[in-house]
C-alpha cells in the first residue's frame, strides 16, 4: 500500500544548525499518528516541511507516492494536506464568518471569481454556517477575530483548517493551553473526524496522545528516535530517557 505522506532522508539546516536530519517517515491512509518529542525536537519544522512552508535542505517529500518536494505550499494544500498552526494564525481584522468563508472559497475554487458577491454563493455559505455550528461559534459569527477570547480563536483556527476538507490533517498542538470547555469541543471534533482522513497530531498532552494515536513517532533533535504502537513506545527505555530526560530524573528508578 502506498503511504499517503512519506519523507525520505529529509534534512533541514538553519545556518549550520541541523533541525531535521535524515528523517524517513511514512504515514498510511486513514492512520491516526502522533508525533511527540521534547521541546526543540523539530516537530513544527517537520510539519512545515511536509506542507511546503519550508524547503528541505535535502531529501524528498512524497504525497500519495508522487514527489512533491518542489511543489509550493499552496499546491500541496490543494492536494489535500491541511494543518492547524501552533501559534494561532487567522485574519485578525475580519469576522469569524469571513475567516471560515475564505477557506471554503479557496477549497471550492471560487476564490478568484470576480463578479458575483462573495456572500451570494449559497452552498458555500451553508457550509460556513455548518462549520461555525460544529465549533460552537455561531453566536460570535459576526465578531471581529482580534476581539475574540483565545479559546474561541483556537476553535476558529481548527474550523478554518477543517473547512478545506483535507484528506491529511496535520494538527500542531490543537488544544494546548485551552480552557476545558473549548478543549472538549476540539477533542470531540478530532474523535469524529471521518475514518478516511489521515491525522498527524503533535501534542505534549500524553493522555491525549495515547488515547488518540494508533502509532507514535518520537522525534529527538531532528531525528526519529523510535516509532511504534503506544504500548511499544511506552515501554521503550530510550524514549523515556530522551523524552523525560531532563525533568524526569528523579522519577526514574
Amino acid at each position: 500500500m502506498t503511504a499517503c505522506l512519506e519523507t525520505r532522508g529529509l534534512t533541514k539546516l538553519f545556518g549550520s544548525v541541523c533541525v531535521t536530519e535524515g528523517v524517513d517517515f511514512r504515514l498510511m491512509p486513514g492512520e491516526r499518528r502522533a508525533l511527540i518529542g521534547p521541546n526543540g525536537a523539530g516537530k513544527t519544522t517537520m510539519i512545515n516541511l511536509l506542507t511546503g512552508r519550508l524547503r528541505p535542505s535535502s531529501g524528498s517529500v512524497f504525497l500519495h507516492g508522487i514527489d512533491v518536494t518542489r511543489l509550493g505550499e499552496a499546491r500541496r494544500i490543494k492536494r489535500g494536506i491541511g494543518r492547524t498552526f501552533q501559534i494561532t494564525s487567522l485574519f485578525p481584522a475580519l469576522s469569524v464568518r469571513e475567516n471560515v468563508y475564505l477557506a471554503v472559497a479557496e477549497r471550492d475554487g471560487i476564490a478568484a471569481r470576480m463578479f458575483r458577491p462573495a456572500f451570494g454563493w449559497k452552498p458555500q455559505l451553508q457550509r460556513v454556517d455548518e462549520l461555525l455550528e460544529r465549533f460552537h461559534l455561531s453566536d460570535v459569527a459576526n465578531e471581529t477575530v482580534q476581539l475574540l477570547p483565545y479559546g474561541k480563536q483556537r476553535l476558529l483556527e481548527f474550523a478554518v483548517s477543517l473547512a478545506l476538507k483535507p484528506t491529511i490533517l496535520l494538527l500542531d498542538e490543537p488544544a494546548a493551553g485551552l480552557p476545558t470547555a473549548e478543549a472538549a469541543i476540539i477533542l470531540e471534533v478530532i474523535d469524529r473526524l471521518p475514518k478516511d482522513v489521515t491525522v498527524l497530531l503533535i501534542d505534549h498532552d500524553m493522555d491525549l496522545v495515547f488515547r488518540f494515536a494508533q502509532r507514535i513517532t518520537v522525534l529527538v533533535r531532528g531525528r526519529i528516535l523510535a516509532e511504534g504502537t503506544p504500548a511499544e513506545i511506552a515501554a521503550d527505555g530510550r524514549v523515556r530517557q530522551a523524552y523525560l530526560g531532563e525533568g524526569g530524573h528523579g522519577r526514574h528508578p
Binding site: A74, L90, F91, P92, L102, R116, P117
Partner: protein
C-alpha cells in the same frame, strides 16, 4: 497597530453588499449638485473625479491587497501618455483611446507587477519607486516623442460620441469623467465584494495563512495589481483627455506620494476613502495654495502628521467613530 487594524476592519465590514446604502448615493448627488451651485469650478471638479478614480485603484492595492507602492503614478502616467500619444498620432476618439490606454497600463502593470511582486517589504517599496523613476526618465529622455520636460503638445480629442466637444468650459469633461468614474466605481464595488475581493483582504491580513489555505498568493496579488494598473491607466487617460495635455508630472514620484496621501487621508480599504480624501485634499490645496502657495507644503505636512499620529484610519474612520458615538448616546 491594533488600533489601525480595528479601524480597517470597521471600514471593510460589509453591510450586505448587494444592497445599496442611503449614504452611498451621496457622492453622486453631491457631484451633480456641485455642477449647479458652483459654475466655473468644472475643471477642478473634473480633476477631483480623475483623482478619485486614481485613488480608487490605489485603494485596491493598499487597502485591499496590502501592497504598499510608492510608484503608482507609473501606471497613471502610462495611461496618460498612451492616450496623448494616440491623439497626437491621429487616434482621437475619447472612448477608443481610453480603452487602449487602459490596456497599455494593464500591460505595463503585468510586466512590472510580475517582477515586483516576487519581493515584499522594503524591496517591494524600492522596486515600485525604481519602476516609477525609470518610466519618468524614459519619458523625460524620449523628447522627440513625449516632448520631455515641455510636455506633449498638440493633444486634442474629438467630441465625445461625435457630439460633445471637449472645450475650455469643461462641461463635457465634467460629465464624461463623472460618468466613467461612476461605471468604474460600480465595477470596483462588485470586485471588492466578490470572493476575489475577499481573498485580497485575506492576503492583506495574513498572507501566510492564505497560502496555507491553498491560495496562490502571487497570482492573486498580480491579478489585483494588473486590475489596479488598468484603472490607474484609465484615470490617466481621463486626465489626458479632460486637460488635453500630458506633462511629465503624470509619471512623477510626487504624484505617487500625493495620491497615497489623499487615499490615507480619506481612509484606505473601504472604497469610500477616495471619495472623502481626494476632495478634501484638493479643495484644501485649492484654498490654501491660493492664499499662500509657498507654504502649502507646511499644511500638507501638518495634515499628514495629524493623520499618522491621531487618525490612522483616515477621515472615514473618524466619521464612523463619531457616528457610532452619537448612535450610542441616542440609544441611552
Amino acid at each position: 497597530m491594533s488600533h489601525q487594524s480595528a479601524t480597517l476592519a470597521a471600514a471593510t465590514r460589509p453591510a450586505d453588499p448587494t444592497k445599496l446604502r442611503a449614504l452611498e448615493v451621496l457622492p453622486w448627488v453631491a457631484a451633480l449638485t456641485f455642477y449647479f451651485v458652483a459654475p466655473g469650478y468644472e475643471p477642478l471638479a473634473t480633476q477631483v473625479f480623475v483623482m478619485i478614480l486614481f485613488a480608487l485603484s490605489l485603494d485596491l492595492l493598499v487597502g485591499f491587497a496590502g501592497i504598499v507602492t510608492l510608484g503608482h503614478a507609473a501606471l497613471f502616467g502610462t495611461g496618460a501618455y498612451a492616450a496623448g500619444l494616440l491623439s497626437v498620432n491621429g487616434i482621437t476618439d475619447p472612448i477608443v483611446t481610453a480603452v487602449l490606454a487602459t490596456l497599455a497600463a494593464a500591460a505595463v502593470g503585468l510586466v512590472t507587477g510580475a517582477l515586483m511582486l516576487r519581493t515584499k517589504g522594503l524591496a517591494l517599496l524600492m522596486l515600485s519607486l525604481a519602476a516609477c523613476f525609470l518610466l519618468y526618465e524614459v519619458a523625460n529622455q524620449a523628447t522627440p516623442w513625449t516632448g520631455g520636460d515641455d510636455g506633449l503638445q498638440g493633444v486634442t480629442f474629438s467630441p465625445l460620441f461625435g457630439i460633445f466637444p471637449f472645450d475650455f468650459r469643461g462641461q463635457t469633461a465634467f460629465f464624461y469623467s463623472l460618468g466613467v468614474l461612476f461605471l468604474a466605481f460600480l465595477a470596483m464595488r462588485r470586485l471588492v465584494n466578490s470572493p476575489f475581493g475577499w481573498s485580497l483582504r485575506g492576503i492583506r491580513e495574513n498572507d501566510g495563512r492564505m497560502r496555507a489555505l491553498g491560495c496562490p498568493i502571487y497570482l492573486r496579488r498580480l491579478t489585483a495589481y494588473v486590475l489596479a494598473s488598468a484603472i490607474a491607466g484609465l484615470a490617466g487617460a481621463l486626465q489626458a483627455q479632460t486637460t488635453q495635455f500630458v506633462a511629465l508630472h503624470v509619471l512623477s514620484f510626487q504624484l505617487s506620494g500625493d495620491i497615497l496621501i489623499m487615499l490615507i487621508l480619506g481612509g484606505a480599504g473601504g472604497l469610500y476613502g477616495a471619495f472623502i480624501g481626494v476632495p478634501v485634499y484638493m479643495l484644501a490645496q485649492d484654498l490654501l495654495a491660493k492664499q499662500d502657495p509657498a507654504n502649502w507644503y507646511l499644511w500638507q505636512g501638518a495634515m499628514l502628521l495629524a493623520i499618522t499620529f491621531f487618525a490612522p484610519g483616515g477621515l472615514t474612520a473618524l466619521a464612523q467613530q463619531a457616528l457610532s458615538a452619537i448612535k450610542g448616546k441616542l440609544r441611552r
